[in-house]
């Protein structure tokens, strides 16, 4: 496995052009974090980060072809914590569009088609309409950011995302001063997303942010993980990542963006308003009505790994606390 990756990297380095290599990887050989870190070191040492490299890989039992993505690591916004393995990140997901079990998105997302992809932009902005993903995202400006992700269910991961700041996308549409909020929809395709056949949540899944949160430099529109395009179970082809909020705010497979004057109604908030607020900021002092949020289980720490304390705003308080000055976090949970 290691060898094959090194091999292809070297090949591309020599050829200096885009090349497609098919590699079949059994699930037990999916990049572990140490292999990934070694690989990164190697890539950095040969200065490959800015070169166009394309490796398409088969993932698990499904035929998901993903390209590698070029990115520059954003050190300022990356944690030094060790990322979870690619296998953990791609087999343990909450994505109810593909089923309610953690393994369902991995098992059931094979028929989802993330390409081609277009996004409908509407509402309080000068420029609106339907745009291709390439119009929204400048693939030459991708950043890698290693963020913590804290789920409302009290588990967490560390994920090396690839993406661009959401603000860079939103600014293109010249939002008006009346745009106080931005809302996002997940695509509705019950034929490709079997979980949508049951009304366990209001479909399409809708999430929203205040314009300040949306424009915050930490808010990322991710298109990849571990230097590869997102797999379907992770929200291909584009998804939000808001690292200081519970995971359900980081909406996946986005096909609609709306600039709004009023606070949008969001899916989990509609489902159980007393349990899932609009803000959903990670906060160990404000428990979920049915369980404690004081601690979290870091995925990948193994059977005897102890739970760790959860931190305010998931450890991003220095960056985001100003957004909520004067706001009662217990009331606006």
């Amino acid at each position: 496995m290691l060898e094959s990756i090194y091999e292809s990297d070297k090949l591309d380095f020599i050829d200096m052009k885009i090349k497609e290599t098919k590699i079949k990887i059994p699930s037990y050989e999916i990049t572990s974090e140490s292999a990934y870190l070694n690989r990164r070191k190697l890539i950095q040492s040969v200065g490959l980060l800015s070169l166009g490299v394309g490796i398409s890989e088969r993932s698990f039992g499904q035929d998901q072809s993903v390209q590698t993505l070029q990115s520059i690591k954003n050190e300022k916004y990356s944690t030094s914590e060790i990322p979870n393995s690619y296998s953990d990140i791609t087999t343990y997901n909450n994505f109810y569009e593909f089923g309610m079990q953690k393994s369902d998105p991995y098992i059931n997302s094979g028929m989802f088609e993330p390409k081609p992809w277009s996004v409908e932009v509407s509402g309080e902005a000068n420029i609106t309409g339907t745009f291709d993903i390439e119009d929204l995202i400048d693939f030459n400006k991708l950043e890698e950011r290693i963020y913590r992700l804290r789920c409302v269910e009290a588990w967490s991961m560390v994920i090396p995302w690839v993406g661009i700041p959401l603000s860079a996308i939103l600014k293109k549409f010249e939002p008006l001063s009346s745009a106080k909020y931005v809302s996002f929809d997940t695509v509705y395709r019950p034929d490709q997303m079997p979980g949508q056949k049951r009304r366990i949540l209001r479909w399409p899944y809708t999430e929203g942010l205040t314009i300040q949160e949306a424009m915050h430099p930490l808010t990322l529109m991710a298109v990849g993980i571990y230097g590869k395009e997102l797999l379907n179970q992770n929200g291909a082809p584009m998804r939000l990542v808001i690292p200081w909020k519970y995971g359900f705010k980081s909406i996946k497979s986005i096909n609609k963006i709306r600039f709004q004057e009023r606070q949008p109604k969001t899916s989990w908030n509609i489902s159980a308003p007393q349990e899932y607020g609009f803000y959903a900021n990670v906060n160990p002092a404000v428990d979920h009505p049915r369980w404690s949020q004081a601690r979290e289980r870091r995925i990948g720490t193994g059977f005897f790994g102890a739970k760790q304390p959860t931190t305010l705003f998931n450890g991003y308080a220095d960056e985001v606390a100003d957004l909520y000055r004067g706001l009662n976090l217990r009331k606006y949970y």
Binding site: D88, E153, I200, S271, D287, R290, S292
Partner: protein, 183 residues
């Protein structure tokens, strides 16, 4: 035969059958809880099965199936207490008090603990003399177990919905039978 799920789980925890997944503690807690509840439901189902099939000896299965449910739920509780909460009694008590569905689950477990402890040979007489108390405890444990299962999920799951309906029907049936017998 009733231990098959347990052996499968054991095999998985040693990395076979594609393992326990990214969150092994959660998998073990969920699986043992689920099987415990399934055997508990089966325990209660034995009475109507014996009644309608007119094979009273089916009722004798109540004790082994019930004990099997207890075995799974003991594993369920011990995995939560000793591994998920690392055996820290203070943390466990606070966690149970703070988490309503844990209070409910703990209540159900205590009921079963009572039933299981009187099923030893020495207490057999007592066991036979107090059948109604015991079956009352098992019914209570099942209701609390279903409630606990229903309450811990973020949205309504089909399995918990099915069990809720089943347990309601079973209780209504049981009351009908006992009132018709006494009259």
């Amino acid at each position: 035969m009733m231990l098959v799920p347990y052996f499968l789980l054991t095999l998985k925890s040693f990395g076979y059958l594609s393992g326990l997944g990214a969150n092994p503690v959660e998998t073990i807690i969920h699986e043992t809880g689920l099987w415990g509840l399934r055997f508990l439901m089966l325990t209660l189902l034995l009475t109507p099965i014996a009644y309608y099939s007119k094979i009273p000896s089916i009722n004798k299965l109540g004790k082994p199936v019930g004990l099997m449910a207890f075995f799974y739920l003991l594993n369920h509780f011990l995995t939560y207490a000793m591994i998920d909460q690392a055996g820290d009694l203070g943390v466990i008590i606070v966690d149970i008090i703070e988490t309503p569905y844990l209070i409910v689950g703990w209540g159900g477990f205590l009921c079963l603990l009572g039933v299981a402890s009187v099923s030893f040979k020495r207490l057999e007489n007592w066991f036979n003399q107090n059948r109604s108390t015991i079956s009352g405890l098992v019914y209570t444990a099942t209701v609390l177990g279903v409630w606990h299962f229903y309450w811990q999920a973020k949205v309504v799951e089909i399995e918990s919905l099915i069990y809720s309906i089943m347990v309601t029907i079973l209780i209504v049936w049981r009351f009908k039978i006992s009132t018709s017998r006494s009259s």
